[in-house]
Amino acid sequence: MSGALSSIVGLGKSGLSRSPIGSARCLAAAAVQDAIANAGLEVEGIDGLLINQSSLAPAGSLPLQMMDDIGFSGLRLLSQMEGKGASVLQMVQLATMAIRQGMASTVACVFADAPLVAGQGGGQSYQNEAPLTGIAGWEGQYGLYGPAASYALATQRYMHDFQVTELQLAQYPIACRKWAALNPAALLHKPLDLEGYLASRYIAEPIRLFDCAYPVNGAIAVIVSSVEAAADSPHPPVYVHGMGQGHSTIRRLAGVADEHQTAGSLAAQGVFRMAGASPADVTLCELYDAFSFCAVAALEDYGLCARGEGAVFIASSATSPGGRLPVNTGGGHLASYYMQGMTPLEEAVVQARGHGAARQVAANDLILVNGSGGRLEYHAALLLSPHLKLG
């Protein structure tokens, strides 16, 4: 197997809150500064900045000029990344490629969002029309609003085709709460049982409130450097071994291709090939779960379960604390907080460093992190490890 491509040497965040605590731009700067300190570096040691705002936030929430807020001058790499829920991992991928080509040496990657305003529920920030057919304004006529609605269509179809029940799918949010109970930073600590799950209201059948990501105001950043430079890092380096992407847009949704075949499997091919690894080598997964169904689809897309078996696998407690393939060990987007791709990446870094305390997984050797966006249209993945060489 091949050696590492780059290393994540810094992890930082702003405050995270359900109340307004500042603009996304302000929060982003705080997270980057925290990540730089975490990496044992100074602002002058950073020569690249990659920025990702929520695609549902107002355009320009995180402008390029925010580099000034942090005190950067003379960056050799600066860009905004937009790949929906895949963006965060795409930033790490671009940073890795730039570092390997000598364009930059040490790159900060940040996501920030401030969707929660005073006096308004979290769901009100996610009420965009779901553009499934490609006809502008069409979905709004029928009230297909919010990402939950379009994921509901996918979930319903999955349940029908593979005879999966609501009670089986319920085991995913329940497992997330078990992990969250072990994570002091998670926002939803209260245990969830089947009764509690079934008592939570429907948003868009079959998706209930507890199947949805938990919105938060905040920012998280990482610092990516070369494998060589990581040796000087104050924390154990987290090595990037594989990177992949896969994209397939409206054609699949328009009835042209197989209903359940997302481009996540394309990202899977790429990420495993680059790492010289296979799904059987993965010991831990940190998955992008905007909704419960996303985790099911990811387990299948990345070959950790056969198609149609993800929900049953989760319902067997395999992904829960003590299970044979831990998934979303910090509680994921559902039970910790919705930092749109930074939540799984952050947890992967924590686990790879061995900093997971009560929730630390012993077998952290090969960690699959994925991101997905649109309605499972845009995918990116990383394979991370505390080991410089795999196998």
């Binding site: 057919t133 490609g134 006529q141 009230g143 609605a149 269509l153 029908h160 328009a254």
Partner: protein
């Protein structure tokens, strides 16, 4: 130096790709459900296609369809919306899929795979269950 820029507006020509959706909506405005077909190959396209209009003909759809998936919305994302209501993901027998809604009698139940029939209701394309 750059060449002088043309100041003429960027209007599309018939040889330039345009969203099929624009034509689709024009027909819908006349209470006609049509699907785009590539003239050369006869292939039925989906509504997100972008093609030169001269290469596409719009054929009348049969109006028969199948329910691909559905959701019942319980959250009112807009002021004044009454919930619950259903949103249907419908596959026309010609192939393309559409978002719509199914008008149901009290005894009807939505089921994936159920046959549907298109109709226009107050200018809106909707579907009703069709006896299988």
């Amino acid at each position: 130096m750059n060449a002088p820029m043309s100041l003429s507006p960027r209007t599309a020509t018939s040889s330039e790709a345009q969203p099929a959706a624009e034509s689709f909506e024009t027909f819908i405005g006349r209470n006609e459900l049509r699907v785009p077909r590539l003239i050369v190959t006869g292939e039925i396209l989906h509504f997100a296609a972008r093609l030169p209009p001269a290469e596409v003909e719009w054929v009348t759809a049969r109006g028969t369809a199948t329910l691909s998936s559905f959701t019942v919305m319980w959250k009112a994302y807009r002021d004044g919306m009454e919930v619950p209501y259903n949103v249907a993901w419908v596959e026309l027998d010609e192939g393309p899929r559409l978002v719509s809604t199914v008008l149901l009698e009290p005894s009807d139940r939505l089921k994936i795979g159920m046959p549907l029939q298109a109709l226009f209701h107050d200018g809106l394309l909707v579907f009703i269950p069709r006896p299988g």
